[in-house]
Symmetry: C2
Subunit: 351 residues, 2 copies
Amino acid sequence: GDCFRASEHQHVRYNPLRDDWVLVSAHRVKRPWQGQLEKPPPEDVPRWDPKNPLCPGATRANGEVNPKYEGTFVFPNDFPALQPDAPEPDDNDHPLFRAAPARGVCKVMCFHPWSDLTLPLMSLPEIRAVVDAWAELAKELGASYPWVQIFENKGAMMGCSNPHPHCQVWASSFLPNEASLEDRSQRQHLSQHGVPMLLEYAEQEARRKERLVVENADWLVVVPYWATWPYETLLLPRRHVCRLQDLSDSEKDSLASIMQRLLIKYDNLFEVSFPYSMGWHGAPTGSYLEEDCKHWQLHAHYYPPLLRSATVRKFMVGYEMLAQAQRDLTPEQAAERLRSLPEVHYKKRPE
Amino acid sequence: GDCFRASEHQHVRYNPLRDDWVLVSAHRVKRPWQGQLEKPPPEDVPRWDPKNPLCPGATRANGEVNPKYEGTFVFPNDFPALQPDAPEPDDNDHPLFRAAPARGVCKVMCFHPWSDLTLPLMSLPEIRAVVDAWAELAKELGASYPWVQIFENKGAMMGCSNPHPHCQVWASSFLPNEASLEDRSQRQHLSQHGVPMLLEYAEQEARRKERLVVENADWLVVVPYWATWPYETLLLPRRHVCRLQDLSDSEKDSLASIMQRLLIKYDNLFEVSFPYSMGWHGAPTGSYLEEDCKHWQLHAHYYPPLLRSATVRKFMVGYEMLAQAQRDLTPEQAAERLRSLPEVHYKKRPE
Ligand SMILES: O=P(O)(O)O[C@H]1O[C@H](CO)[C@@H](O)[C@H](O)[C@H]1O
Ligand SMILES: O=P(O)(O)O[C@H]1O[C@H](CO)[C@@H](O)[C@H](O)[C@H]1O
């Protein structure tokens, strides 16, 4: 088309990782919003609360007392969705009624002893400690489980029921849906193009620049060309890295640094502790450790729900659930906005 | 396994329509909930509000004045995500940066002139009028567009910004993701098994009974074996029907009746106007009208977010977004609970 502008004209974009499409209708953000407003996060979280089961020295649901930990702290989830032992479902009697066994473990990892901190407010060495703990858990649980899903739900809007900074790790005996999808699409890309999909993608985005948010020598963060959530980002290494546990010491430092920069920008966007769900995807583990996983490239997805302000989110509902994801601003607009934000946290700005 | 019980033991179930899996961990609902509480819907919606753009006689965003309609009322969405004309995106210069044209129309349909009604509180003839309007829109827009997505977002929790009873219709020049997925899986089932997937499924569920919620001569509603949302249901015809516009007069009557019974049960579950997103899927239209669509079976999905009470919802967040959907009660438990609820609306019960 001779006068196509992505920010004015609806179109669909292809997501090569998930093999699906997103509808981009950027003109739509002009409509007024009279719907639900979200409650901003509490500002008065106590640093230490003996009744909060994630705090050092507190008693958990199972009666155990947490140590007086001073860095990160990993413990078993007291209400695990996956357990190491479970009887197997009976044989399927019909192709439309298929069940299969599921085994695994669920852990919780506190990022820091203080409840009133979040990653963007932590120091670089503190964030580096989180990265180290992630890599250790990925390696330890990956020794036996094919998939180790590290994820953080941040903020009540993302179903997080505890303000204490923490993430979860669910390891499973099966490849979950998203892992299978990404495995298939990355495998196909490597075989068709001779280069891992996300390695090529990072190179392209580093050159094109319009969707870049932050970058350093080892990493870059982009609003992907096919982003679904308004301010969704993808964190990518520049070098070919299959798994968290394959990162070098200096790559872990630069990861801590780029995460800090991204998360400060996120908080600065609406001057609120920015809610999101994030998680790591890397090559499968367990018995896959013996297999060729060169098509995989390590990456983290950040899925934040906010659209217009600290209290107005994007709802992925009717059309999105029944038909296809739809977004109200272009990925390029989102990247520009994030890029232009200061790298000093709004709570730490000099008066 | 010799002692497997679905309500006690985690397992995964296969969704043959979407070709993916759900993790069922029913023991998990035992954990306490300290997270976000939802605001119950307002009880004091005025029957008529001249400032509400969906009301008869009100002025809309574009300056037009609504007629004093007395039944259903269809008008163009004033902030459409899809428009009939848009310049085409430029040719793709790289396989990882693929855009494609998207055209369509978006309409809004009011169910009734009163803002303080919802479908479960409407009379059978009033619901039947909604069914008729759906069939007409499906036919009219389906004459040129390959996909006509009829959907209702009910409740502020589902991003609905207006309490007036209404749904939306987005017709598009492309098959959206969910349509493509269901087209592929249903096509494959017919070719492998010689019978449309959802026709066979309905027969099976009518016989097995444990996931039935309501049924009549033409229709049944089940919590599907692979349900993702806690109280998700699937509304299915017993006979092979491709599209809404293929329903007979008496099937439209029995559809109005079964919808009313389902929605009254939904409202009775937590004695609250039950939020959900719902929508119709039928065989594609437009140029597909000339093609063989026998693998398709008409159906409606209901996706309600509530889990524990009128104020505690299921959050599909971290693990669900990054790995795989997870549910906290079995589909059989959900069906049992819905089945046992009265068919008289809690607001209409004699004192
Ligand atoms: O069109 P509405 O009701 O204003 O908007 C609602 O439904 C749309 C279609 O599912 C979504 O894209 C919006 O996020 C949601 O708020
Ligand atoms: O484990 P949590 O934090 O209590 O629970 C949260 O995260 C889980 C994993 O994404 C979800 O299944 C829950 O719906 C959500 O509330």
